[in-house]
């Protein structure tokens, strides 16, 4: 066993020396290889981070959202719905919500106006999201005017700017009191935008949704898991789109790597001949080249992955952010929580390290099985 370790150490030493002797070629290959891993890992880490972030945020969202449909479009919830829902068994808590969208022509952005359920905002005051505050240059105490869809001008005082930590969800948010909301949007009394429901037993969510649909045939219950799934597929789709765009570059690299890895220079062939002539077995040569391939591909993997980590979690994924995050006027400023998906890491490792190592070995094997007497004639 000790001999085996000594032998592997010698082979690794020799591989390192061999890499050092072909510095330019190997450094070039390492750079291109690391870049490939960096690009792939950046896309994967960023979308994974977004997916997780969305999952985390949505975990706190209501289990069921009930909307009313008229001609297939969302409409206001009329009075009486809450009473009907209250009679359905399994519903633990329900809340009628008031929210809507407002287009601000000043910054050409859409805001979400919402009446918070858990706090009271005095009349004539607003609480605004951090991106909106940034865009309009607002701080607490400032006055801001909005012209409603009916043409009337409303002036509010900014009571508070929401904290940066909540920016992913609150970037474009405007919180206001129920009376102000109804007045601003000419919202009819007793009507609501939608209803959120909590279900006592999580296994009963689908049953409750079915009962809701039966009791209120013009309504559409939306389950939290459906929203989560929609977000996940949205980010999957964006990830797939970026990877498709990058496919050409990936293919170009694959050809380059294959060419570099599979083409043996005359010098390398000569060296293999010498090693065999002086007593190395074909297996020894293959092991040595295997270590060489592993050293290059593993280094490239580590460099590329660490660079991607820094890029995504410390530099906010600057290169891919606009594509993967989606378009908006009010971009939220947020930091993704660093995390690694083991399966994703293993997939990336398998598809980058494994093919290169294999590509290295095939031509070496071909060269290494030839008779070593050729070295006597050179």
């Amino acid at each position: 066993m000790t001999d085996w370790f000594h032998k592997q150490r010698y082979l690794i030493d020799f591989s390192l020396a061999a890499l050092g002797r072909r510095k330019v070629r190997n450094l070039g290959l390492l750079a291109a290889y690391s870049l490939l891993v960096f690009v792939l890992a950046s896309v994967m880490l960023f979308t994974q981070g977004l997916r997780q972030e969305a999952k985390r945020v949505l975990a706190e969202s209501p289990e069921v959202i009930l909307q009313r449909l008229v001609a297939g479009r969302q409409d206001l919830i009329p009075p009486g719905y809450l009473e009907q829902i209250g009679r359905i068994r399994g519903v633990q808590k329900m809340e009628a919500r008031l929210w809507g969208y407002y287009y601000d022509p000043v910054v050409k952005a859409n805001y979400t106006f919402m009446v918070p359920g858990e706090r009271q905002i005095p009349s004539g005051q607003l609480v605004v999201g951090p991106a909106l505050a940034r865009e309009r240059g607002l701080v607490a105490g400032n006055l801001i005017s909005f012209r409603s869809y009916s043409g009337r001008l409303f002036t509010f005082q900014v009571a508070e700017v929401l904290p940066q930590a909540s920016e992913l969800m609150s970037a474009d948010l405007v919180l206001l009191g129920a009376e102000d909301f109804r007045a601003f949007f000419d919202f009819p009394a007793g009507h609501y935008t939608d209803i959120t429901l909590s279900v006592a037993n999580p296994n009963e969510v689908r049953n409750v949704a079915a009962k809701l649909a039966a009791a209120l045939p013009d309504s559409r219950p939306i389950l939290r898991e459906e929203v989560q799934r929609t977000y996940a597929s949205l980010f999957d789709w964006r990830e797939g789109m970026v990877l498709t765009v990058l496919a050409g570059a990936l293919l170009a690299f694959a050809i380059l790597a294959w060419d570099k890895a599979s083409g043996l220079s005359a010098e390398e062939r000569r060296e293999i001949g010498i090693l065999k002539a002086i007593g190395w077995e074909t297996g020894d040569v293959l092991r040595m080249k295997f270590w060489e391939g592993v050293l290059i591909s593993l280094s490239a993997f580590l460099i590329g992955y660490l660079a991607a980590w820094v890029h995504v979690f410390h530099l906010d994924g600057a290169l891919f952010r606009p594509v993967l995050q989606g378009w908006a006027v009010l971009y939220p400023h947020f930091r993704l929580t660093p995390q690694v998906d083991g399966l994703q890491l293993a997939t990336l490792f398998f598809f980058t390290v494994f093919p290169y190592t294999a590509a290295v070995l095939v031509p070496i094997w071909r060269a290494a099985i030839t008779d070593p007497d050729a070295v006597m004639r050179t």
């Binding site: 150490r9 002086i278 190395w280 007497d373 070295v375």
Partner: protein, 224 residues
């Protein structure tokens, strides 16, 4: 004792460019002797040395090393045999550029997995024996022709093989360095090693260190 019986070696057999490099060579070579194979280019000297040194397999015929038939052994056993019994000094020295003299000397012993210190000590002792101790860390391409050849000899001896095979060892050396090589040859022979070499250099062939001369022509022995 190395016994060769009716040895044949063909290249590109069965093709339009088939060529028989060795045609029915039979010889007995005693252990501990310096034997020189001589003859013009294309006479089959190098091919015969490759076959004896297990670098290639004969097309037909037998080679016996101390009574054991080695001509039909599979590749793996041939490699093992080559490592244990033969040390090679090639015409172009065939050292690996970019590595130090010491690393080159140690190379044939890597597959054995000896402890590093033991191997380094052995390599340094051999380099010192050939007056290269001070050049152990120098890259081989920085060494002179004579120094490179001495590194090649040290490399050939690292696994302590009983037989040294040298192909045209003085072809790239001037007279002074050739004489130096012959002196080393004398030392090795004196230490009980068998030396097989090819040459058409009169300085080598006429030297007293060479105890037996085998003349080849067209793949056949013409004088033994």
């Amino acid at each position: 004792m190395i016994e060769i019986a009716d040895l044949h070696k063909a290249f590109n057999q069965g093709q339009h460019n088939e060529y028989w490099a060795i045609q029915g060579v039979s010889l007995s070579l005693a252990r501990g002797q310096v034997t020189a194979f001589m003859g013009p280019s294309g006479s089959g000297k190098t091919t015969l040395l490759s076959l004896i040194g297990c670098l290639a397999r004969p097309t037909s015929g037998r080679i016996r090393l101390d009574g054991e038939d080695i001509s039909g052994l599979p590749e793996r056993f041939l490699t093992e045999l080559r490592r244990r019994h033969f040390g090679f000094v090639f015409q172009q020295f065939n050292l690996i550029k970019g590595l130090s003299a010491r690393d080159n000397v140690m190379l044939p012993a890597y597959p054995l997995g000896l402890p590093h210190r033991q191997l380094t000590e052995r390599a340094d002792a051999l380099l010192a024996q050939f007056r290269l101790g001070h050049r152990a860390d120098a890259r081989v391409e920085w060494l002179s022709g004579g120094e490179q050849q001495r590194v090649a000899i040290a490399r050939a001896l690292i696994n302590d093989p009983p037989i040294l095979v040298a192909d045209e060892p003085t072809a790239n050396l001037d007279t002074a360095l050739s004489r130096e090589f012959l002196a080393i040859l004398g030392e090795l022979s004196g230490a009980g090693r068998t030396v097989l070499l090819t040459s058409h250099d009169p300085l080598v062939l006429d030297s007293p260190q060479v105890e037996r001369r085998v003349a080849l022509r067209d793949g056949r022995v013409v004088e033994a």
